[in-house]
């Protein structure tokens, strides 16, 4: 039996959603628009349209160095946290072992700790060990806070796997190693890829933990934050907008591929 929809909900909800989207997207549109501003050093008020910033994104001092640092740090952090986190996720879902709840707590705590505490704790540790903060300490910090997010993401994927698939492989005389690499691992790949993307974006956009453990090394968010007081060059807007467009493209390609895979599966 279907009744007419609650009319208030029918019209109010979509309008509400549109307003929420405007709220979400306004600063992005602003950042994008002001990447075309011919503003010189202080990109505060609109001057006139120009392509120059996009033609020469490294035109402002230190912008591109900070981006290169951020990308390199994010790659290392993604690699480290994805490997360590995937291993933990596999163990949690597929194996019996003692101290399971202690392990879960150890994974939950970093997520429940505010960044400013994580950053301060690590810096206290590095100062104690007389380690100078810099590129390496940022990577160490990023791997640490990304691990838990990788575990959660991959674990959800492992939990949806049919355990009988591995058994079927064993019945067909596959060794456990072959069964894992030929059956389980390919099925896990989408989950691992999602975890890696999450780790990359968490690392690339991190500011607070980075700021505590970076010493003189500049990352892109740190560069933007530090230059906020004296005016952010329009090139920073170009980098931000370009990252946005690249990520959007990656997500759209992913969605198209997923849709194709679904269609192919249905056709079979």
């Amino acid at each position: 039996m279907s009744r007419p929809q609650f009319s208030l909900g029918k019209y109010l909800l979509p309008v509400y959603a549109v307003v929420a989207f405007i709220y979400l997207l306004t600063p992005i549109a602003y950042t994008f628009a002001f990447s075309f501003n011919n503003a010189g050093r202080s990109n505060l008020t609109w001057q006139r349209f120009t392509w120059d910033n996009w033609r020469n994104p490294c035109g402002a001092p230190a912008v591109c160095e900070s981006v290169v640092n951020s990308v390199a740090i994010a790659l290392f952090a993604t690699l480290g946290s994805t490997v360590l986190g995937t291993m933990i996720a596999l163990a949690l879902v597929r194996y019996r072992f003692r101290f399971r709840s202690a392990t879960n707590l150890l994974l939950f705590l970093p997520m429940a700790t505010p960044e400013v505490v994580l950053g301060a704790a690590l810096l206290a540790q590095f100062l104690n060990l007389r380690v100078n903060p810099g590129f390496t300490t940022i990577v160490i910090a990023h791997i640490m806070f990304c691990i838990s997010f990788v575990v959660v993401t991959v674990k959800a994927r492992v939990a949806t796997l049919d355990p009988h698939l591995g058994e079927a492989a064993s019945d067909l005389y596959a060794s456990p190693r072959v069964a894992f690499w030929r059956v389980t691992f390919p099925l896990l790949l989408p989950g691992i890829a999602a975890a890696a993307m999450l780790a990359f974006s968490l690392s690339f956009d991190d500011f607070i933990i980075t700021n505590f453990n970076s010493g003189n090394t500049d990352t892109f968010p740190k560069f933007v934050y530090v230059s906020a007081t004296r005016g952010i060059p329009a090139q920073a807007n170009v980098i931000g907008s370009a990252m946005f467009l690249i990520a959007l493209l990656v997500v759209l390609i992913g969605q198209v591929l997923a849709a194709r895979r679904r269609a192919a599966a249905e056709a079979r």
Binding site: M87, A91, V116
Partner: protein, 304 residues
């Protein structure tokens, strides 16, 4: 990204398959990651605890401390920075409630209303995660400029008398709370979306068939079922918001300083490590207590 945040709640629903296999392999898989967390999470927190009890060397070099058991660090920090503590939790609480009020209907529209239109659903979902793709510092600074005294938005609001002539939007508590709400809105929306996406619409029909009005069906059926999503979203919003200092630093003034601002300036400007450490420990303890109480109260223990 979506998959990641959505899966954070997905597992609360499905019972895990029985674990099997030998524990030797389990430990081989676990050891590297857990050792890493012990080295770079547990040990630093332990160092932080120790540092929080150290005393400063009065005539020594900048930042010099010596080992001690100075519990007064905690009482001094609490007394001196009680307003900033209160502000942090108040702002984070308001931001969480606002994010829920905005994020829940948004998630509902995407997950339930758009269920039969996968293309639109996919597009809207991308728009929700879109903010993640631009640096959050850049977006916060964009807000600062959008709300600035000389900006177009403010001028328009003043012209149509929605805003008094002498009013300002930046450098106010409102701006800080709005910034916090904005920055963590996707973290609220995505877990709720992940939950509502799996909501069985037949349950709502059943509610209607039993002559419950839509409001009551929502209150008695939809809302309780989406509780795990709400809990996960609130935690993902409240925890980072309470420790944040970027929004207050960029959108506020000294009178909107949150505890994160104090920890930051104690560490880097005043170079007073014991006080910074004591404040960090207090913040962590307070948040963990709140989280534990909240998770227990909302009956989603299995989230942990």
């Amino acid at each position: 990204m979506t998959a990641a945040l959505t899966s954070a709640t997905a597992e609360a629903g499905a019972p895990p398959p029985p674990p099997r296999g030998s524990s030797r392999i389990a430990w081989l898989l676990l050891t590297p990651g857990l050792a890493y967390l012990v080295l770079f999470f547990v040990a630093p927190v332990a160092v932080l605890l120790l540092t929080s009890l150290y005393e400063r060397v009065p005539d020594g070099p900048v930042g010099a401390t010596r080992p001690a058991l100075r519990w007064e660090n905690y009482t001094d920090a609490l007394v001196t920075y009680a307003p900033q503590f209160g502000r942090s939790f108040l702002y984070a609480f308001i931001a969480t409630v606002l994010a829920l009020a905005i994020g829940y209907p948004l998630a509902y529209v995407i997950a339930v209303r758009c269920r039969n239109r996968p293309l639109l659903q996919g597009l809207l979902l991308v728009l929700v995660i879109a903010p993640f793709f631009t640096s959050f510092i850049l977006r916060t600074i964009a807000w600062k400029q959008i709300l600035a005294d000389e900006s177009l938005v403010v001028a328009v609001l003043k012209t149509i008398s929605l805003l008094p002539d002498d009013a300002r939007l930046t450098a106010t508590p409102t701006a800080v709370v709005a910034g916090l709400t904005y920055n963590f809105l996707p973290f609220m929306t995505l877990p709720i979306y992940a939950n509502l996406e799996r909501l069985d619409l037949r349950l709502i029909e059943a509610g209607e068939d039993l002559y419950a009005n839509p409001a009551e069906t929502f209150r008695r059926v939809t809302l309780p079922l989406s509780m795990p999503g709400i809990v996960a979203g609130s935690l993902l919003t409240f925890i980072p918001a309470a420790g944040d200092y970027v929004n207050s630093a960029l959108l506020g003034t000294a009178s909107t300083a949150m505890i994160g601002n104090v920890i930051d300036s104690r560490f880097f400007r005043v170079v007073d490590y014991p006080t910074a450490a004591a404040l960090s420990v207090l913040l962590m303890a307070a948040i963990l207590l709140l989280v534990a109480a909240y998770v227990r109260r909302s009956g989603t223990d299995d989230l942990l």
